[in-house]
């Protein structure tokens, strides 16, 4: 990863020196073990901060909108798919973004590690290619990275950037034979009341902080429906009914747009499985409309278009 970091820095410095971009959005080292943090770099000197490792879990496409400058962005596969979605929705112009694509082996899920360590605090983490050495006050533990990745990374078929202006390093092999929707199918097979119970168990943890919404690159409505007062759609308390509707409507708003980058899931402080619904909707969109968001610039999102020979009557 050090090599990758160096390559990213070089690419960034070149872009800034040649004035091909005014700003580069990337990652720098975080203040806690196993964390990195978004950084905004505008000079060659600042570009020295850029790093890349298995803690670069945020989707930086979230910071692209509403800018007038030319922006360079460090993006992994899922991030580039978000960028494609943003381009299709005319939120960002292709010419405005210089994509520094980085092939990805998956991002570490800190919560899985914390669960394994049963609450023992990690004070230091040394990341190598396949393993991570974790050190605490009175323990040292080595783990296999591959066993502690985010769930969205485990089912990812786009580890390589789908579009890019420069590719950092070599492409990685895409995983084959992934059961993309295994968990969804399992969930679908359960009886309705069990599914509802499972959903309400998750949603009852919600504290309405909207970290999920704000972390998502595709949640950009000028006025989010939860903030509307005329009319007011839902209340603002943590009441189960209000929280349920928030999550349900939020999931539906991602239909045909969500690329399952997992940013929402990773942002949630209460560990809610936000992807439970979005994955189901993604599967439905794939089956009904043969469409997957953000895999190329040409496909038209199904909910943003119609044609006279659409298979369903009502939509013609």
């Amino acid at each position: 990863m050090l090599d990758t970091s160096v390559m990213i820095r070089d690419a960034a410095k070149k872009l800034l020196d040649q004035k091909r971009v005014d700003l580069i959005i990337g990652f720098e080292t975080g203040t806690l073990p196993l964390r990195s943090t978004p950084c905004f770099v505008r000079t060659s000197e600042e570009a020295e901060k850029l790093i890349w490792n298995a803690s670069c879990e945020n989707n930086l496409a979230r910071y692209l909108r509403g800018r007038e400058e030319k922006v360079g962005i460090v993006a992994k596969g899922c991030d580039t798919r978000s960028i494609i979605s943003l381009i299709k929705e005319k939120q960002v112009a292709r010419e405005q973004v210089f994509i520094i694509g980085v092939p990805c082996h998956g991002m570490i899920d800190r919560r899985k590690i914390e669960a394994k360590l049963d609450g023992k605090e990690i004070l230091e983490a040394d990341e190598a290619t396949e393993r991570v050495i974790l050190k605490g006050r009175d323990f040292t533990e080595t783990i296999n990275k591959a066993e502690f990745l985010h769930n969205s990374c485990n089912t990812c078929s786009y580890r390589n950037p789908v579009i890019y202006d420069v590719l950092i390093g070599d492409k990685v092999e895409e995983k084959r034979g992934i059961d993309e929707y295994g968990e969804v199918k399992e969930f679908e097979a359960q009886p309705a009341d069990r599914r509802w119970q499972s959903f309400t168990n998750e949603v009852s943890k919600c504290i309405r902080c909207y970290a999920c919404r704000n972390a998502c690159p595709l949640c950009y409505c000028q006025e989010c429906f939860v903030d509307s007062s005329q009319p007011q759609w839902i209340g603002k308390t943590t009441n189960l009914s209000d929280a349920s509707i928030f999550h349900i409507v939020c999931a539906f708003h991602t239909a045909g747009r969500c690329v399952d980058c997992g940013a929402c899931d990773r942002a949630c402080p209460m560990g809610i499985d936000i992807r439970k619904l979005t994955r189901k909707i993604e599967k439905d969109v794939k089956e009904l409309f043969h469409y997957q968001a953000g895999v190329n610039l040409e496909d038209v999102p199904p909910l943003a278009a119609f044609s006279l020979d659409d298979p369903q009557q009502f939509i013609r």
């Binding site: 975080g30 203040t31 806690l32 964390r35 990195s36 943090t37 978004p38 950084c39 905004f40 945020n58 979230r62 910071y63 919560r111 669960a115 609450g119 605090e121 004070l123 006050r137 943890k205 504290i207 309405r208 902080c209 909207y210 970290a211 919404r213 704000n214 972390a215 903030d227 209340g235 603002k236 308390t237 943590t238 009441n239 990773r266 942002a267 402080p269 209460m270 560990g271």
Partner: protein, 340 residues
């Protein structure tokens, strides 16, 4: 009153003797993290933990609270004022930083000038039993803000872990009365006290994370127009994680919820991070972008609150540092301010 002690093996029986007379809140494991919940058996209390995910402020200042109910159609407004429970409560196992946060919240909700009926009802009938921190987390920085792993600010009793037993320091009369009433407490002997002193003397050293905050308010006095705010907010998502998980954040919204003729007015947590916070009906917003909102948050916690109450609205608990989705670290912010 001299220091007392209680054997760890007696703790469960002590808690059991409280349950019944008191509503007892203690840390328990819930959904994979720690929460303060009502316990019905002493053995449910978790003693080996760092801190809860959500701050215990929610016991006194819940995320949503009914201010009053109403029923239209009769004479007048039909308001039904809330009734309050009167069963005494104990919050057991709170950390000194969180106990201190209650003392800070008292400045707003329980002061000479103003007593919030909802908050004071609970605060007044709650006994706060803190447990000192022998193993603070790397994100704890309470000592930088006037606290310490064994501070007794805001608690009625504080327990200090000396391995087989706890030394108990009664802080208030309420605390003293409780200790006298329960047989599990005995007088702490010389050995216990010397062990306790060893533990507490290490207190300062235990907190590895330090931020020099003495000059923060003075610096902020002149920083309103500093270009620092232009870049500080860039990665902030503008969500409410830091505010809702903060033990001292206390801003709230008031909303009506109605079903035909009946309804209620509720008070709910709100955050200055949301654009809606200051958005006026005309569409004008004095804090239109994330920059102004982030500046407000930092200035309020470390200058405005200090101007009004002589204490920063931060206890160094580290929750915001751990949970921020983009690792925006308040310690780094404070250090940047000092270096301006």
């Amino acid at each position: 009153m001299k220091e007392m002690k209680i054997a760890k093996s007696e703790l469960v029986s002590f808690l059991n003797s409280l349950i019944g007379e008191y509503k007892v809140f203690a840390p328990v494991k819930q959904d994979g993290f720690i929460a303060f919940q009502e316990i019905h058996s002493g053995s449910d209390a978790l003693l080996d933990y760092v801190n809860s995910k959500k701050p215990p402020k929610e016991i006194f200042f819940p995320q949503s609270e009914v201010l009053f109910n109403y029923r239209l159609g009769g004479e007048g407004l039909g308001i039904e004022e809330p009734t309050f429970e009167d069963k005494p409560m104990v919050i057991f196992g709170i950390r000194p930083c969180d106990a201190r946060s209650l003392a800070i919240l008292d400045n707003i909700f329980n002061s000479q000038e103003y007593k919030d009926v909802y908050y004071t009802n609970r605060r007044g009938r709650t006994l706060v039993i803190a447990i000192g921190c022998n193993q603070p987390s790397s994100t704890c920085f309470c000592t930088s803000l006037g606290g310490s792993p064994f501070s007794s600010d805001g608690s009625d009793l504080i327990l200090i872990d000396i391995d087989q037993e706890y030394v108990v320091q009664p802080v208030t009369n309420k605390g003293k009365k409780l200790v006298r009433k329960h047989s599990q407490f005995g007088e702490a002997g010389r050995r216990s006290l010397s062990l306790m002193r060893k533990v507490t003397q290490r207190a300062g050293a235990l907190i590895k994370s330090k931020v020099e905050t003495g000059e923060t308010k003075k610096k902020l006095d002149g920083m309103f127009d500093d270009p620092f705010w232009d870049w500080l907010h860039e990665k902030c998502l503008g969500c409410a994680v830091c505010t809702y998980l903060c033990p001292t954040c206390h801003c709230f919204d008031i909303a009506d919820e109605a079903l035909d003729q009946r309804g209620r007015r509720v008070r709910i947590w709100d955050t200055c991070s949301f654009p809606l916070f200051t958005l006026e009906a005309s569409g004008v917003n004095p804090r239109p972008t994330n920059k102004e909102r982030m500046r407000q948050r930092v200035m309020h916690k470390f200058k405005y609150f200090v101007d009004n109450h002589n204490v920063a609205a931060c206890v160094g608990c580290g929750r915001c540092i751990k949970e921020c989705p983009v690792n925006l670290d308040i310690r780094a912010v404070l250090n940047s301010i000092l270096n301006r």
